[in-house]
């Protein structure tokens, strides 16, 4: 579904990502792991059009994503969350979700743009309720998103990413700052999201989570891919152990 072909990104001559290639299979959960500074977020930013690769190609369902702007990538059905929680300040949870519907409305009618959020667009509100139920967030629907506890804000971010019926979701360190109970719930959430037909690319530090959810794991270190395989394979790979624990 997503093909990354020898992508390189250099900042002022330093290669943050160096000829990385891998594929993400449709319907799978693929994890991207690696020590701090390995280039995981840089790679996500290139997929979503925030950064332009120095060389190489990124294809989504056969279409190149190189040179597309973030909103164009977003409307192809690729949605993401962010490493630090970045919810919209001053909007409720439901409004945060519905914002992701608006671009598609633009094509239909300018009149709908001028209506309040809770009028019209039955389909959008039904979808929002569906996702809020899926992630068990219904109780918080009308609260201001930025007033909620941190762990819940993280799940609202995921809910927002799912709003536009994405085929592909990029989750950037969703477990960061979560306690064990919250992480367990997150593992369930990610599996449920995959079961609704969304392909997931997960960037994560939390090994226990990665080993529990992933179908395939890609390991980066200093911008290069050092290993790729199933969780069992990765756990036994001497190169991965060396890069995490030092040789």
């Amino acid at each position: 579904m997503l093909e990354i072909n020898s992508v390189t990104k250099s900042f002022y001559g330093v290669n943050a990502i160096d000829k990385v290639s891998f594929h993400v299979e449709k319907g799978s959960i693929t994890s991207l792991i690696g020590p701090n500074g390995a280039g995981k977020t840089t790679l996500i930013n290139m997929i979503t059009g925030v950064l332009l690769p120095t060389s190489g190609d990124i294809k989504f369902k056969g279409q190149s994503l190189i040179g597309l702007r973030p909103h164009q990538v977003g409307s192809l059905g690729i949605r993401r969350t962010f490493q630090t929680v970045r919810l919209f300040n001053g909007l409720s949870v439901r409004e945060n979700l519905l914002i992701g519907r608006i671009r598609s409305l633009l094509g239909i009618s300018w009149l709908q743009m001028l209506l309040p959020m809770n009028l019209g667009d039955m389909e959008g509100r039904r979808r929002a309720d569906e996702i809020l139920s899926l992630l068990e967030l219904r109780d918080y629907a009308d609260e201001l998103a930025t007033d909620l506890p941190y762990g819940i804000q993280r799940r609202v971010e995921i809910a927002r990413a799912l709003m536009g019926y994405p085929e592909f979701a990029l989750l950037d360190e969703p477990a960061a700052g979560m306690n064990e109970g919250e992480t367990d719930q997150l593992v369930e959430d990610v599996k449920r999201i995959r079961d609704t037909g969304v392909t997931v690319l997960l960037v994560e530090h939390d090994m226990s989570m990665v080993m529990r959810v992933s179908d395939t794991i890609v390991v980066l270190n200093f911008g290069q891919k050092i290993s790729e395989g199933s969780p069992n394979y990765i756990q036994g790979d001497p190169q991965v152990i060396a890069s995490y624990l030092g040789s």
């Binding site: 949605r79 919209f88 001053g90 519905l98 743009m113 309040p116």
Partner: protein, 291 residues
Amino acid sequence: MDILLSEPVQALVAINVLLTLSLLFPFAAGVWSLGLPGFMAVGAYLSTWLTMQMGWQVGPAIAVAGLAGAASTIPFALLTLRIRDIYLAIATLAAAELIVLFFSHFKPTGAVMGMTGMPYLEVHWLLILATGCVVASSLLYNSRFGKVLVAAGSDPMVAACHGLNMPTFQFASLAIGGLLAGMAGACFAHYYSFISPGNFGFHRTTDILMFLVVGGLTPLGAVLGAMILTTIPQVITSLEKWAPAMYGCIVLLMAVFRPAGLLPKNQLVKIFVTKKSDKNKSRRHLVSKDA
């Protein structure tokens, strides 16, 4: 209190409310444009020309002045593609000064001496226009479009990653600001029947900015800020020359005690939402009882 109901105060309040709303929309969207006096000057001079030279009625002239104000934001909009934040503020400030500088040297509009003799506009028309714009702005601010602006102001990159084309929304917010400023400029011209480049200086931006800071970044906040700060120096006329010092103290006190302004959130929505979630909570309570 009679002074509050006097016509000059009403006119000043109406014009300042329009100007504060014109600054609200770009600011809510995170576009820190300070081009307001430029758009205002465009509206004022165009409306003057239309009524005095072309024999238009005041009403249509004000409407066209608003549209011209919106059109004059296009070069400013192009700036937003290249620069943002404080750099955009400085660049738009300079661009607005250029517009005003043009009128200071343009002989047909009287250069620095300005123009006089425009048809007079009754105060009640100003009040009707201002009220209409307040209602329209509140509706727009709470519409989907307004929510996108708030999202853009909160985090434009995240909004873009959710499929929203940021430049179009930022351009639209600037154009709405230009429309309101253009109409305010035309109202200014027709109420005072005198305009000169000196009316559209930097002090205009700082005054309006202060109204918005004190009121808060919502339509009702903008209206409240403009009304309170416009009337304070008028109520205590003997203190009028102290107005700048009073404004300074008020802004400092606000910065310390209420940095987000008097009405930072939409109060109507807040009341509605609290009610609703209270209902939810009681329902949750019932559910747990059943279980």
